[in-house]
């Protein structure tokens, strides 16, 4: 299948996160984004989820370049893991490169080496047989862009993450003219962000939340503490601007937010008037009505600043009765319980807690249906591929495209790992490569699979019971009493009685057992499972171990 264009999504389809796409032509691969996904509730003990790089392993020298559309973790976070395996130049905007460089230096330490190449809207970049035209679009971090990519079979457009914000607080307004003029020459395929496809209408501009914050800063009887995403630089800019108006200084708590603040200020992405920003220690000494604090932890993450403040365990910040706390985000699905728990703690500690929908203090960074339609209408692609989103988002985005007159057989709802061949005459899924989850747990990448997760799930539900069965090496007769250990099954005060019963149950079973290792283990396991279910209706994970003694 050489000399045909192939689209190979390795992440971001039927899920939120770990966005990664390959475009392949002949023996040339262009990679767009290399993101991580944060684990879902049932991925027990997992730190991160990354794309499966299997497809690239025998094609490492095909990779001509990696283009990053913007600086969020779900588009950059798996770069270190990929760069462990391949080496290729990275192209992106100035802000993204600064964030990526920090990430790579942290991960690789002395091993750091990377080819970072700045690109900007209006540039034309040759990457192997591909010509990339970056086009600024708005999102919740500055320097986000869509990509028009000229390939030997025609021009394609990838939206990146986007919304159409005509009045962004920081970063450029979307370059719709750029999109339109690139599209005028005809676009073979559009790959477009589906995250907001359930939402009717038009996502409000970042500017629309200003009145709510103006009122809060004006009326608050003490400090205003605003929690938001660490990467949401426009929110940070807005807080700096409004704080100036009411003579408040802005202090920042939370490592990731402080780092982003410093990088963005240094590069000029944040406009910080002299004296507008103070250190936390300074803020703690100012009169309360002169202080705004920007903090991490808007998702209720127990280790982040706001959750610690709510629990009264933050090292540097103690909440006060006249503080106003604003949670300037919506809970990401799966975080609702933690956010609610944090709010429940906050209401007792401060003057007021404000969060959506109590006030208009957050807007999404993703396009709603009318913006999606606007992009489709400007691009008028021959083929349409919804990307970035859970299955239902891709589905609704495809229906939107259909409603605008794109024929159903020109719309491709593909899966991670599908290899979609694209030509002027049509598209077809021609092959499949592994597209599933690769889990990162500690230093292990990919060594945790479904089996280990199922064990953790069983352990979470019912704890475990192990029984050590000492036997004589040759006769396999018992060489002592079986010894039972449990954790997570019963409360220790009752444990003694329960364990005594369990030991009796095992002894009885072993007496009747054949004296092979597997028979002893199976009988012990059955006896213990039955015993615990009968006495407690619980189902701990039972692990029998026959130990052969030398004597």
């Amino acid at each position: 299948m050489a000399n045909k264009l192939r689209f190979i999504p390795l992440g971001g389809l039927s899920e939120i996160g770990r966005n990664m796409t390959l475009f392949e032509y002949g023996k040339n691969i262009l990679i767009v984004d290399v993101g991580v996904m944060f684990p879902e509730a049932d991925m027990l003990g997992i730190d991160l989820v990354i794309p499966n790089f299997e497809y690239l392993r025998d094609k490492k020298d095909w990779v001509r370049g990696i283009v990053i559309t913007h600086g969020h973790e779900d588009h950059t976070g798996a770069l270190p893991y990929l760069l462990e395996e391949i080496n290729a130049p990275i192209y992106s905007t100035r802000l993204v490169l600064a964030l990526v460089e920090r990430k790579l230096r942290e991960y690789f330490g002395k091993r750091y080496r990377a080819s970072l190449n700045e690109i900007n809207g209006g540039d034309v970049i040759k990457v192997g047989p591909f010509t990339v035209h970056p086009v600024p679009l708005s999102h919740s971090i500055p320097d986000s862009m869509a990509l028009a990519i000229d390939t030997p079979v025609g021009r394609i457009i990838h939206s990146g993450d986007f919304k159409i914000d005509f009045t962004p607080i920081s970063g450029d307004a979307p370059d719709l003219t750029g999109i339109a003029s690139l599209a005028a020459e005809g676009v073979l395929a559009l790959f477009s962000d589906s995250t907001g496809a359930e939402r009717a209408g038009f996502t409000p501009s970042e500017k629309t939340i200003e009145p709510a914050f103006d009122k809060i800063m004006r009326e608050a009887p003490g400090r205003v503490i605003v929690a938001s995403f660490a990467s949401l630089l426009s929110r940070l800019q807005l807080m700096i601007d409004i704080s100036q108006r009411y003579n408040r200084k802005v202090a920042i708590a939370g490592r990731s937010m402080s780092q982003n603040f410093e990088s963005a200020r240094k590069l000029g992405y944040l406009k910080v008037p002299k004296g507008a920003h103070v250190r936390l220690e300074t803020a703690n000494k100012l009169p309360a009505t002169q202080v705004t604090m920007m903090v991490t932890g808007s998702q209720g993450q127990p280790e982040a600043a706001l959750a610690r403040m709510a629990a009264g365990t933050h090292r540097d910040i103690t909440l006060r009765k006249n503080d106003t706390v604003v949670i300037s985000s919506n809970p990401i699905p799966g975080n609702e319980e933690e956010v609610a728990r944090m709010i429940n703690q906050l209401v007792d500690r401060v003057h007021e807690v404000v969060y959506p929908p109590l006030a208009h203090v957050h807007v999404s960074g993703h396009a709603s249906q009318e913006e999606m339609k606007l992009l489709i209408s400007l691009v008028r692609p021959r083929f349409f591929v919804p990307v970035h989103g859970e299955r239902r988002h891709l589905h609704f985005h495809a229906r939107l495209a259909e409603s605008m007159g794109i024929a159903k057989d020109h719309i491709f709802e593909v899966q991670n790992g599908d290899i979609l061949e694209i030509g002027p005459a049509g598209c077809k899924v021609v092959d499949k490569t592994p597209g599933g989850y690769v889990f990162v747990d500690g230093t292990g990448v990919g060594d945790i699979g479904p089996k280990v997760l199922r064990e953790r799930e069983a352990l979470a539900k019912g704890g475990f019971v192990t029984v050590f069965i000492p036997v004589h090496k040759h006769s396999r007769q018992l060489a002592g009493s079986p010894r039972i250990v449990t954790r997570g099954v019963v409360y220790s005060e009752q444990a003694e009685e329960v364990l005594k019963g369990a030991e009796d149950a095992v002894q009885t079973a072993l007496k009747r057992s054949k004296h092979t290792k597997s028979a002893l283990e199976n009988n012990a396991k059955d006896a213990l499972s039955r015993y615990f279910y009968k006495t407690t209706r619980r189902q701990p994970l039972v692990v029998p171990v026959v130990v052969e003694m030398e004597h």
Copy 2:
């Protein structure tokens, strides 16, 4: 403190669920509601959470009666556990008694015995020194009521769960006149449902969702499958009514919904025209456009009907490409991920999936802020106690009452277990009784505490490592090689190598150890913890076991 009125909440305050309240005067206790709570995400392996009955244990003969305000599990579900310990007459409406009787017969089997006493709006019931006036209010199940209770110190009103629905689909409209006339004589204290206190405005009537369903039933190209709460009888009635209009027969899937349907129909709470309801097997043979199915599982519960259908594992119902599926509920906080996962599966299997906010197919059963104000305005209580809701709901409800002119020191935001003494001159928390969670896991009630949960949490995150160390009984010298077992830590293919390293680490540590049992255990534990953290950055639960051999 005899001859004073005491309000003792044992559940439902700073949480959603396990509502239970005691009113005590002298040696007389009236119990209002005895509910369960469903476990939160971090209550691993727990089946149910019930109130702590400790306070009642030495006052069993003080209990004059139990009044149930309506038939939901969070108001009735812990009755079996309470009736294991005390015996008292139960008072409620006809529907509630039918549901309660079924529950008690299921739980107690042959041991069943209960004094069930029907009461109705307008009745006046003497229970010890208390006189109870039930007043119908609307909620999401018929026969819900508020209670006006005359006590020796004055009249109090408890709202139960309520909304003000002037056009309910089934059940009575709220008896605001009844509330007003009972309130006319003066009310000492109002205890009112806070669940919806974050929501501005007025909760829409059940009637308002009719147009959306009318359109769906009229236009659907095949079957209409509606998932909702099993107890939401008015939703069931609405589906029966609209289905009739479009010549659809209604079938029901899911045990709890079928049981509720049968009970409610028998008692006349559901109006089911002849032939309007068919069995599942019959529905499966009808033309698709003549079928409506009401199913359980609107919260994405993996074992309920809709999740099984979405996964393709339901025994009797196979989804078809022209089905329309309606999820007629909002996810309860904590269930968002499971609901989203189910929708992601459904979009690939059926014609259309409809859920809020895509269409107006659900309304809450709880009052919003304007309805809460309406009740306060009708009752004009001397004291106000927000009940039923998480901490923030109680907080916002208290602020609402304040905004209506109730003095701050006449509002009592109390906690489960607080003993609030109520008199015309004032209220005061005079004492505290255990109000915390009691966990039900299998047949165990209260035997799982924080320690077991912490163990389960550690196991969920990192699995376990047990090491069995055989030693000679007297010398405590090693009597064989230590034997290590792990689950949930590493994938089995890598396990061999990791385990070999772990064994070496333990051997080395034990050689250097003092030969007491505790030294051996501590050294083995430290060595293994260090080894696993160093090689994998993981922290399994490490359990060392020294076993003394007779030989």
